[in-house]
Symmetry: C2
Subunit: 192 residues, 2 copies
DNA sequence: TCCGATTTTGATTGTACACTCTAATTTGAG
DNA sequence: CTCAAATTAGAGTGTACAATCAAAATCGGA
């Protein structure tokens, strides 16, 4: 299936249109028609290049996440701080796309089994990367302890992001950084 | 608008049907037709009693949340533990309804301004109740400190709930209780 | 220039959904 | 029993959407 240049450019235009619409107006407003209108393409051309609307949406979301990856090559050199900052960057710069991610995770999960697994796997990979980075900066931690701590940290970050999605005034970055510091330098219980 | 008994019973049947469908199959599967079929009511009767489908859904969700309220009369006697346990009960027993709450918060928030404010207000009231309970059990805490701590605690609980929604095996209750203990008895930073 | 492969078009299909409207029926207070 | 008000029925409206298809146009290697 040797591609023609025209088709490749059209594909790029469609992706760009989807990226812009999703990032600006959210999932519900990004209809197939809206994408095609902005890309100046007719519906038929869209389906000549993509299997479905879902394909495009998932690709845009995946690319937005990948764009802030502090270690795209997976060299294992990232610090916990890098990962947290990447997380903050994603939710700060791409808040609507981030919301779409949650939207897909929450609404699609019950119905669409394949999608559910993709998101589940994605989250587990994230736990793993965060845990590894935490242990790198803190070799004394056991795997169990580090995993536990990572689960809590990520839960808090997700919760804070959700909070920020509800209230734009909420200082997501500050809370996120404070939480991350807490997770990095282990606290001890005050004797009671 | 003096009600007839028949209408009151029909209203109850519709609410019950919506409750069952939402709790079992989620928001997307709970169509107007599905509600009417289960309630054995025709569409026209539905709209004689309710303004919209949204009305019914929001009422079911609100009632599910109210059902686990440890202090429905707002006497101010609830402990932080009570509140956390209520939260755990809601997400454990009514996991699908809880998911619907998130679904509404995330997808509706951008479009529907009125709904957005309701959910925002609900969250702020929750922060307030949690903070008050925390201070009651820990009078030494300043309002600022308690608020901060509460924001983090609630964010973590929400994040853990989200995690549990993705992976049914995740031990939500254990993590939630552990986090709450942490929040209750302030930890101090280990000197570095 | 030729010609098969790719791309484009846009009318059309199909579907799912919330919601409306009017006429018929039922209720229950007086 | 009467009758106005409440309730019910259910066909019908309107809309928004993703996706299909066959024919026309275009591409680009040989």
């Amino acid at each position: 299936m040797a591609r023609y240049q025209v088709g490749i450019r059209t594909e790029a235009r469609i992706l760009e249109a989807a990226r812009e619409l999703l990032g600006e107006f959210g999932l519900d407003a990004t209809t197939l028609k809206a994408i095609c209108d902005r890309a100046e393409v007719r519906v038929g051309s869209f389906y000549n290049l993509f299997d479905s609307k879902e394909t495009v949406v998932l690709r845009v979301v995946a690319e937005a996440i990948a764009a802030v990856d502090p270690d795209p090559a997976h060299l294992g050199t990232e610090t916990l701080n890098d990962l947290v900052e990447a997380y903050i960057a994603f939710f700060t710069n791409e808040s609507i796309v981030a919301r779409i991610y949650v939207q897909i995770a929450v609404s699609g999960a019950l119905n669409n089994g394949e999608l559910h697994h993709r998101i589940e796997r994605h989250h587990e990979q994230r736990v793993d990367r965060f845990r590894a980075a935490l242990q790198r900066g803190n070799p004394a931690l056991s795997v169990e302890n580090a995993t536990e701590r990572t689960e809590i940290l990520l839960a808090t970050l997700n919760g804070l992001a959700f909070r920020a999605a509800l209230n734009a005034d909420f200082d997501f970055a500050r809370h996120a950084r404070a939480t991350a510091i807490e997770a990095r330098s282990p606290a001890v219980r005050r004797p009671t």
